[in-house]
């Protein structure tokens, strides 16, 4: 499906230029979450370019990105795939009741050494 409205939203939120992608795959090759992902960074760029947004919106891949910015720094064309993943994830989590994590999940996550930073970061990424 070619969803021009969602495509425009993603480009507006991310500020990324997907048309610059030359399909080299370096972003996915360097991604530390590659093995966990259904759709990889280069596919995010390509699918957003063609307007094929729905599969991305419904994919767990949105929650696998580690925000390490490796794909952004190592892209030879300045496509900034992590910003695209972030924009699609926000489109998903901004819907009512679509948070990927809740306070009820916290007890199972924490141990005596858990840094506050872990919970703060996870909530920022997985919830809205």
């Amino acid at each position: 499906m070619n969803n021009r409205y969602l495509q425009k939203e993603i480009l507006r939120i991310s500020g990324a230029d997907v048309s610059k992608c030359m399909r080299c795959g370096k972003c996915s090759g360097t991604c530390p979450a590659y093995d966990e992902m259904e759709y990889h960074p280069h596919q995010f760029a390509n699918m957003v370019e063609s307007g094929d947004i729905e599969p991305l919106l419904n994919s767990q891949s949105l929650y696998k990105c580690l925000s390490c910015f490796a794909c952004i720094d190592r892209c030879p064309r300045g496509v900034e795939p992590a910003k695209i993943v972030e924009a699609v994830r926000l489109l998903a989590t901004r819907k009512q009741g679509a948070n990927h994590m809740t306070a009820n999940d916290v007890p199972a996550i924490v141990d005596e050494d858990t840094p506050q930073q872990l919970l703060v970061s996870a909530f920022r990424k997985y919830t809205k």
Partner: protein, 263 residues
Amino acid sequence: MKVSYFPGCTLKNKAKDLDIYAYKSADVLGVTLEEIENWQCCGGVFTTANDEVATKLSSVRALKYASDKNQPLVSVCSACHNVLKQTNYAMQTNTQFADKVNRYMAEDGAYNGETEVYHYLEMLRDLVTFDTLKEKVVNVLKGKKIAAYYGCLLLRPNTVMKMDDPENPTIMEDFIRALGADAVVYAKRNECCGGYISAQSPETAKKNSQAIIENAKAAGAEMIITACPLCKYNLVKSGADIPVVYFTELLAEALGVKEDTNE
């Protein structure tokens, strides 16, 4: 020299050693860390979305505070530094975003990215200088083989962070050498430990972290230093069998304001 200091949530709780030894070492080096009054959590991770405004206000307020005092803004935590610096960059370069933010800044006054943002390591390199640091070392850490773990947040995205060469950084190795120890250089020092994924998939964090530790050990490391509480947590939880400590602990030990760092 006086600087504005943003500690961050974890440094007042689980990462007290990062904070305490930053203060003690700064004292020895003639730097006064003036903690920002009523600082608020940076949020842990920078949101790259252009239309996210509220989540960046706490950082803007910290930056504005330093600007009012005409001081550089220094933080020790990699995550805080990354969020503060990326927010500052957005305020400098994205006028539409800055305009939206400044609508929330009526009480504090408008801010447009004037503050110089330093990580504590950059402060040591650029303001104190490693030569001066070397002169202040009383316990030379001679013979210790120490690996620097940069992780992601100090270096990337490089267009914004500009701390060092993002693929071949030297600032932490130069820091280790200034303390008299041997710097162990290894390939995975700027690869991701997994970060906040340990809230969802601890196995992923474990796999990434173990690969980093194994790589450091293979290069001869006897200890790993980091500036990030979450990196330290992930590395330790993955079963590290060499000590993983904050760089400020090592610094304080070399400056004679902390006991041995091996424990």
